[in-house]
Symmetry: C2
Subunit: 388 residues, 2 copies
């Protein structure tokens, strides 16, 4: 287990953390019917599990997230984990009270078994042969991790975006093992527009000649340009139009519009996007990107419940918090209201909050006073056995 | 001049049309300061120019438009010109009253001088050496075409999107030569989000290895995959989210979500987008796409007027019609209201209509009763000398 230590990172930080690895050595059957011979999940924990293991909170990550949700990996780390604003001592997910588990999902590229891992049958990286995954596969593999950690019941399962889909699926698949479910900036299924953006991103990747039908690792290359284009599409659509405007306006990076000049005038937003695309394509695996976006596209909460979300949620026992952000147009408040309405009609306990924000879908990752308050208040209602 | 003939295409059609070519043989200085040694513009006309040449209407096209705005090129043509809904006998731009001129803009790839044309200095295609263009270059070249056709004053200059930018620029550059100005689904300048989408599309094109720094024609190839990705981005963003949802929902093209299946499940919207991307990349020139999107990005109506749109529009003498569409999020109604407000504050005559539509930016091309009525009513107010 990784230790939270007092650290020079300040009182709200979980401090230095060390990733751990959970190895599952038995065959694992996927929703597709295919089997993995076993798998590894890399994860981090923050806080202490209490005596009756009733204070455990699972963090489910989104498209490009990892197990590194909070704290720092070394003393000279410049950036903390991706959700450090909301996880730590005194933060909404208060590590003084909760034992927090964050993992890199199966199929990921941050250490867990995925397309870049060695396929034991061939001795080579899985690459494009890695099985397609569904959200329920993540839930089932997270369940095995929970058992490994001695957690029978989660005090809460929490996630934003694709992570919210995992949280909801948890509440339906293991209803007596999820006491609270926090679903942020998510949806019961993607819209056609959302699928279309994902498809365009995938087209950019798979049409890059360096993709080699997914076998780029064997060719010692990577479809970096395609991945960069995919990330650029993501970046624009995860921000709001107004947010981009406030951040960049039409400011020029260089050049001018003066008559007589024929150089390529560049706006700040252009070089920012190109930079973001390049950084991402250096560190992320293209097959993982394809796999994650496909799981997003295919997720449909109520498919196995006669397409009736109310029937689906009647299965759940958890108390729900559903949060959306006003300018999020890829997972719009309308999608979250659909979740909240279905929960109410299923007679479940649900709090719904729509947060004013100028940051689009990315708002779920960013500091915001009202969001923090809503989140904290809900988490504060969670009674852990050791306290009661 | 092309003739409108009675035809089997029905009473509302201009019938068969034949493109013409205007050749300008003198040096033409661009906004950048560079010179073209001359140029050709391919154009079509519909209706008859009246005796005092007071009934001429100029159609300015958008990003991927052409001179073929109405009618048919042959008896077995299946699709009419791109704005056939609005140009023809009895239509809003009524060819019984107006002499309509539609051209392919300089830098285009439908017959006018552009990157695919031969550079007389080298004997090879211009390719990436074709000069950068500004909207005012189109206006100035259109002015030369007008002179060639014996038109001193346009009864109206009309355009949607990038075409609306040309119409506005006409009204500022040649105020006594534009009596009416119709600006549809346009903006005084692009937002950062809009620039960001264009930049992502350009990245997809220029990072395609077949782009060869723009010299793909010399290599007898073309960056088709990049161009297809660019078009896919365009397609999604020119439609509204609801429009895409209504058209495709989450319908499957093949496959199913049944357990046990690991094939690539495909949504209808995916294959539609891929098809659209492929069709476009077969016929459109990548350098033209770059050039057109850069002109879009750089357009800023009031830049030379101290960034004051009111000061800019005080230059204009035309009567304006400004139209926007409720679900257009790339050229949102807000942008059109800014135009209308600046015109009012400049004491100009302006009608503004916001049309309810589910078709996003594409609505300006599509049939809509209210849009048609507004458009027709405005055009009907135009008095041509021959009538008065």
């Amino acid at each position: 287990m990784s230790a939270s230590v007092d650290s020079p990172f300040g009182p709200g930080s979980v401090g230095l953390v060390t990733p751990q690895c959970f190895q599952y050595d038995a065959p694992f059957t996927l929703a597709s019917g295919r089997q993995l011979p076993g798998f590894e999940l890399v994860y981090e924990t923050y806080g202490q599990l209490n005596a009756d293991a009733s204070n455990a909170v699972l963090i489910c990550h989104a498209l490009s997230g990892t197990h590194h949700a909070a704290g720092y990996h070394s003393a000279d780390d410049r950036k903390p984990g991706w959700w450090d604003h909301y996880i730590g001592p005194g933060k909404p997910i208060d590590t003084n009270r909760f034992f927090v588990v964050a993992l890199n999902n199966l199929g990921g590229c941050a250490g867990s078994t995925g397309p870049t891992s060695i396929n034991p049958d061939t001795g080579k990286p899985w690459g494009p042969d890695f099985p397609m995954l569904r959200v329920r596969d993540w839930v089932n593999s997270q369940k095995l991790l929970a058992t490994h950690l001695g957690i029978q019941v989660w005090a809460a399962v929490v996630g934003g975006s694709l992570g919210g889909m995992q949280a909801m699926r948890w509440a339906l698949e293991y209803p007596d093992q999820v006491r609270h479910c926090v679903v942020i900036a998510s949806a019961m299924k993607l819209t056609a527009q959302n699928i279309a953006f994902n498809e365009t991103a995938r087209h950019a990747i798979t049409s890059d000649p360096e993709f080699h039908d997914g076998d780029y690792l064997a060719q010692q290359t990577s479809p970096k340009q395609g991945l960069a284009t995919a990330r650029m599409i993501g970046h624009i659509t995860y921000l709001s139009g107004d947010g981009l405007g406030e951040k960049f306006g039409r400011e020029l990076r260089s050049g001018s519009f003066a008559r007589g000049q024929d150089s390529l005038v560049e706006f700040q937003v252009q070089s920012y996007l190109r930079y973001q695309g390049d950084v991402f394509s250096d560190k992320f695996d293209a097959n993982t990107y394809l796999l994650m976006t496909r799981a997003l596209d295919y997720f449909d909460l109520a498919r196995e419940y006669g397409d009736d979300p109310v029937a689906a949620f009647k299965t759940a026992q958890a108390r729900f918090l559903v949060v959306s952000f006003s300018t999020d147009w890829r997972f719009s408040p309308e999608r979250s209201r659909e979740i909240a309405l279905a929960l109410m009609n299923a007679n479940r306990s649900v709090c719904y909050a729509e947060i004013e924000s100028n940051f689009g879908h990315d708002a779920f990752l960013l500091p915001s006073e009202r969001y923090e308050t809503v989140f904290r208040n809900f988490m504060n209602t969670i009674v852990t056995e050791a306290q009661s």
